[in-house]
Amino acid sequence: MTMALTPSAAVHAIRGNLATRRRNVTLGLAAALALTFALALYLGDFPVAPLDVLRSLLSPLTGEVNKGVDFIVLNVRVPRAVLAVLTGMSFALSGIIFQTLLRNPLASPDIIGISHGASASAVFGIIVLGLSGLWVSVGAFAGAVLTALAIYGLAWRNGVTAYRVVLIGIGMAAIMGAVMSYLFTRARLFEVQQALAWLIGSLNAANTGDIYPLAMALVVLIPLTIALLRTLDAMQLGDDTATALGARVEFSRLGLILAAVGYAAFATAAVGPVSFVAFVAGPIARRLLNGAGNGFLQAGLVGALVMLGSDMVAQHALPSIQLPVGVVTGVFGALFLLWLLMASNRAGRVN
């Protein structure tokens, strides 16, 4: 710190530096995402030249039609990439909200049972009720919301503590796992295969119709999140400090939990419980920012990037086989989890 500055100017300069770092990280992530998105439109089994991709994208405006290429770009690649971006962002926001509220990096929806609830419900729908398509998604959504309510209800004891939510959530994940195992033992092979494909989470069958429910949900959820973020800045200091600062803690916590469950439920309904995107996005964003912000916008970008990048690997890594995206995020997330545990061990902290 330069001593020539007045104290006020020094504070202003420090805040300015933080804002600059925040902006640089955001711009960097946005640029990486734009690049990956462009690559996702370009890469594929059917070769399309970059200029033709551009021409297809602009065809609704220019009226220049090339049916085959337009179908590949506008009806296959664009919906798939857009869905990857939206679901990645949703998983990430759900994860970082839970992680911040519960002050624990393990507290993401794919670890505290919300994804498991969605999965068990979807598997029940596929195997017992014989559902398919959109109805599986509806079932998954209902499962996520009901599981979240059950966790919140069971964790409630004159208020909700992070510790109880995480423990009860992990217990709930185990119960839902048991429910799924039971359903699998009762099912026929074809149904198991169908259910498993859904469980791993995939963008392979992405189409424009999958995008609308999620996009409409985001139109509601994102403003709600932004409205409550300022309170979260105070809540990060602990409930007592936040109340002392004049924040409406219980009200904001309920709103944020609803938003987080909404993100997880709609994204899971759209692409299945793609693992670990919710878990890794927040910590990666915060590490990049290194104290220069709460990292919500950046986590959303990281989530979109992880999802889109993983899907590209899933599509193109092995010749002639398209892997489900969940396989790639699973490997990536598992490595990240190991690294997180090792890093926190070295620092001598539990979380």
Binding site: V11, I14, R15, L237, T241, A244, L245, G291
Partner: protein, 271 residues
């Protein structure tokens, strides 16, 4: 800078679940003074502070701020008058000092009023008062316990409230840092006319720094007033169940409690 505020607990019962911790507590906080609450472990002194800070709703009675029941006032309005530093605030990972202290500006901001030069000035003043200006760009994780405590006090100061409640702000600090923190609180009372209420563990420092001392036992107020009038051997025996001798603190001329245990007691005392 300070306006005088009337701050009163009237017939307050406090508890957690079915367990009642504080009973029929009445206290008028003297404005422009440093009030210290003392008592044995688990006597309810922190609970009283939480009740007065509207962090815990009384099961009976009320706390009045300028005549209005504090638990029904808009919490943000309270936050512009009353600042609170709870016992164990949490610093987010990797946050830097200036950012943490800036969180104290929360009640002064809103949807349409974001960060302003006035906020910069308030943070700078809080850092200066707590002698933490040179730490402003450091991550809070890297600070020593004493530095961290001063930064948290700076956060509460940045809130720029006339009333300030602190729950054991000297716990875990070395004696030199304890004295530093209490000197700082005294500055704030004497130079800025703030009203401060603090819960302390150390009886002798409490007697030295308190303008007004409040002694508690088992959830009830036992005595209050100037330390020199309140702190008698009988009161110490009552609140701590321990024999003691009161001498005059050679530095501050305030009461100093010298405990009498079973061992190391000189012949003169036994006689």
């Amino acid at each position: 800078m300070s306006a005088e505020h009337q701050f009163i607990a009237a017939g307050m019962d406090l508890g957690y679940g079915d367990r009642q911790v504080v009973s029929d507590f009445n206290l008028t906080i003297p404005p422009g003074k440093l009030t210290v609450i003392v008592g044995a472990n688990a006597c309810g002194k922190s609970t009283v502070l939480r009740g007065m800070a509207r962090l815990l709703a009384p099961t009976r009675g009320a706390v009045y701020l300028d005549g209005k029941p504090i638990h029904t006032m808009p919490t943000r309005e309270v936050a512009t008058i009353l600042g609170v530093l709870p016992q164990s605030p949490i610093a987010p990972d990797a946050i830097v000092v200036a950012d943490l202290v800036g969180r104290g500006r929360y009640p002064h901001q809103g949807w349409f009023r974001r960060w302003t030069p006035e906020d910069d000035a308030a943070v700078a003043e809080a850092l200066r008062a707590t002698d933490t200006l040179e730490l402003a760009d450091r991550p809070v994780d890297e600070l020593s316990g004493g530095q961290r405590q001063r930064v948290w006090i700076a956060m509460a100061l940045a809130q720029q409230t006339d009333l300030l409640l602190l729950d054991e702000p000297t716990t875990f600090l070395d004696i030199n840092h304890q004295v530093e923190v209490l000197d700082l609180l005294t500055d704030l009372v004497r130079n800025n006319g703030r009203t401060i209420v603090v819960v302390l563990h150390d009886l002798n420092l409490a007697c030295r720094y308190a303008d007004h001392i409040v002694a508690m036992k088992a959830g009830r107020l036992v005595a209050e007033g100037k330390p020199s009038e309140v702190m008698t051997e009988a009161i110490v025996a009552e609140i701590f169940g321990m024999a003691s001798r009161i001498v005059i603190d050679p530095i501050s001329d305030t009461p100093m409690i010298v405990p009498i245990g079973r061992h190391h007691v000189g012949a003169k005392v036994l006689a």
